[in-house]
């Protein structure tokens, strides 16, 4: 260890201890202090680690959590980062917080923001990258899908030996030729006789090879599926890990088969099956047996993605974060699998963390809501006018639809809805506000890390 790294590391650890002990926080500041003193600190901190990087637009957090669960079957001590600490400073803090690695290799499973992959690979050469997907995401902050992918690639180029474990159903992950070993996972559960196109408002449907519009044998959601180009013959690569069958889907759980191994996960949504499939693939990559992976998924440890259950005076409330059209549509799809009657609450804010442009709600498939067993609609949040009109156009019946901009009052209204089940879809700052109201009233404890 250089003297500089030593000082930097000490300063970072002390500041973490101080922040954690006295201010109950400290996810990025220690990293900031440490990096300031020694910009190369990551090479020092990460040198005893085999690192797996998980990146992509949606599913990073849950894929990371599931991958850790899977790898625990073989590795006793795994370093991982909490959601939201996926940029450079947060990654440094994560390493600082780790117990001093003993001799030998340690394993780290890290969720990394797309643009920050290069900030990590400059100093640490991971053993594997896991790519979830790339979709449009808050365009006022991020930019185009091709730019986002290029940022990831720029980072991967510094680690040409790392194995790429990518979603094979996403054509974009097959668009750049890289020297890295590659493994693809995907869904192999559709009808090969079909020839279909994605819905008009889907992004990323151009063939990476000849720029014609790709077709599909089947589509899982958005632009993910068994794609092929009728013009040039470009097609989905052979899958190394394939989901062969989905058996049951409910908002609480899914059962399915990967390579003939039956698996159950205690979280709903087809998008979370992709996350489980990614974690499965990472597990297989590190030599864990299929039945052990299935066991890992059913272990008691509850994994939270972007959804949370809350009991509000007897009402069974599920709060779900929505932030981009593809994620939103997956949530709509998930709640459509609920057989019970429920109430639907949509809360829209447009602060920086939500995305200040609300136009993305028009790519949300709200037209499906009137076909569900919804007894009450409530729309609110700072941009209640936008979300209210969106639901009107989608055909939410006027007599069931109430508008309530004020979130305190929304919480009161939950108690009076005609159903036991309630789904709340909220953008980031609306969710934080709502959670603090829930916490003040004692419905939940503490904040989200």
């Amino acid at each position: 260890m250089s003297i500089r790294s030593g000082i930097a590391s000490f300063a970072g650890k002390s500041s973490y201890w101080f922040l954690h002990t006295f201010l109950h926080g400290g996810s990025s500041l220690p990293g900031k202090i440490t990096t300031k003193i020694d910009p190369n600190i990551l090479s020092h901190l990460g040198k005893n680690y085999d690192v797996i990087v998980i990146t992509g637009t949606n599913g990073k957090t849950l894929t990371t959590a599931l991958t850790v669960q899977v790898l625990k079957q073989k590795y006793s001590n795994i370093l991982t980062n909490p959601s939201g600490s996926n940029m450079e400073q947060g990654l440094v803090t994560t390493f600082l917080k780790a117990k001093n690695p003993k001799t030998g290799r340690n394993l780290a499973v890290l969720e990394v923001d797309e643009a920050n992959v290069i900030k990590l690979t400059k100093y640490i050469k991971p053993i594997a990258f896991v790519f979830t997907n790339i979709f449009r995401d808050q365009m006022d902050r991020y930019g185009e899908i091709y730019t986002t992918y290029q940022k990831i690639i720029d980072g991967v180029k510094l680690a040409p030996k790392a194995t790429i474990i990518a979603n094979g159903d996403a054509a974009i992950f097959n668009s750049v030729d890289l020297p890295n070993p590659k493994l693809f996972y995907g869904f192999q559960n559709g009808d090969d006789a079909q020839d279909i196109k994605a819905k008009p408002n889907t992004d990323g449907v151009l063939c990476p090879n000849c720029q014609n519009i790709v077709h599909y044998r089947y589509i899982i959601y958005a632009n993910l599926g068994k794609y092929f180009c009728p013009n040039c013959g470009f097609e989905r690569p052979k899958l190394d890990f394939a989901l062969s069958k989905i058996n049951t889907l409910t908002p609480e759980s899914s059962t399915f088969e990967i390579d003939n191994q039956k698996i159950k996960i205690g979280i709903g949504g087809v998008y979370n099956i992709y996350n489980a499939l990614a974690a499965y693939s990472a597990g297989k990559f590190l030599g864990i047996e299929s039945n052990k992976i299935a066991q890992a998924f059913t272990s008691n440890e509850r994994v939270f993605g972007r959804q949370e259950k809350i009991n509000v005076e007897g009402k069974d409330v599920t709060l779900i974060l929505v932030k981009n059209p593809v994620g939103l549509n997956q949530v709509i799809d998930m709640i459509s699998s609920d057989k019970d009657a429920f109430s639907f609450i949509g809360l829209l804010n447009a602060n920086y963390a939500d995305g200040i442009d609300t136009s993305w709600i028009w790519d949300g498939d709200f037209e499906r809501l009137p076909q569900m067993n919804i007894k009450k609609y409530i729309t609110g949040g700072e941009r209640y006018k936008d979300i209210t009109f969106r639901l009107k156009v989608a055909g939410a019946p006027e007599e069931l639809h109430e508008v309530e901009p004020n979130l305190d009052k929304v919480v009161e209204k939950i108690k009076t809805v005609p159903t036991d089940k309630v789904y709340i879809l909220a953008t980031y700052t609306a969710m934080l506000k709502l959670r603090s109201i829930f916490a003040n009233k004692g419905y939940i404890k503490g904040g989200m890390e």
Binding site: P200, N201, L206, I356, V393
Partner: protein, 236 residues
């Protein structure tokens, strides 16, 4: 409600030019059309597909990502003559952002390449250095006095030609170029704008104007007063 009328909508490159909830403009057209007794048939017209001027009453042309727009700029040259014929014959067209730019002479993309439009309208679009116009915007149409609310997010600065009028004058925000206070363009029955939102969602009166213009063109001898009597409540 009885559907007395029928309008055919061409959703130009709807599978490629769809970045900012552009589909919303079609959904909103359908929403008000239904209340006016108008059935809307919408069809995506994309790469290698013919656009025939006489087949359509309304066209909607959204904005796309840089990569997709370059592909569209090549393909749209094959539809150029029919699109110009459609526009000159008073066909209704709503063009957003990249769609707006491609109806003009050219725009310069993020890499500095000059991307040709079809020159159906007389504007052109230059880049600005390391800056985008991002934020909520409010404009007022100088002729009918209507106010339009929206959200703009564009790097290009557009300068209108002499036959074009602005869709509105900027009350709050940047508009076409941040200098001459114009926003969007109107030429015959073509409405261009940088507004996301999408524009028709927040500005139902504009949706109604477009529907009425299309009805008058398709049904010139009919009494359209019942459709025209639709009240559009504020949605923003």
């Amino acid at each position: 409600m009885d559907m007395q009328y029928e309008l055919n909508v061409a959703h130009l490159y709807g599978d490629l030019m769809n970045t900012y909830g552009d589909l919303g403009n079609i959904l909103v057209l359908k929403y008000y059309a239904q209340q006016m007794g108008v059935k809307i048939n919408s069809k995506v017209v994309s790469l290698d597909e013919d656009f025939k001027a006489e087949d359509y009453d309304i066209a909607v042309f959204g904005g796309g990502q840089d990569f997709e727009q370059v592909i569209v700029s090549k393909d749209i040259q094959t539809k150029k003559d029919e699109l110009i014929k459609y526009i000159e014959n008073d066909g209704c067209l709503l063009a957003i952002c990249g769609g707006f730019q491609l109806l003009g002479h050219y725009y310069i993309d993020a890499k500095g390449d000059k991307i040709p439009g079809i020159g159906a309208l007389d504007h052109y679009t230059e880049p600005q250095d390391n800056n985008r116009f991002i934020g909520n915007i409010l404009i007022k149409n100088p002729e009918n006095g209507e106010e339009y609310h929206g959200f703009e997010n564009h790097q290009g600065v557009t300068h209108l030609g002499k036959d074009e009028k602005p869709l509105g004058m900027v009350e709050k925000g940047y508009g076409n170029n941040g200098q001459d206070h114009t926003e969007g363009a109107v030429y015959k029955n073509v409405y261009c704008t940088y507004f996301h939102g999408p524009i028709l969602a927040r500005n139902g009166n504009l949706a109604k104007n477009i529907l009425m213009a299309a009805l008058k063109r398709k049904y010139p001898d009919q009494d359209l007063s019942k459709a025209a009597s639709l009240k559009v409540p504020a949605s923003y």
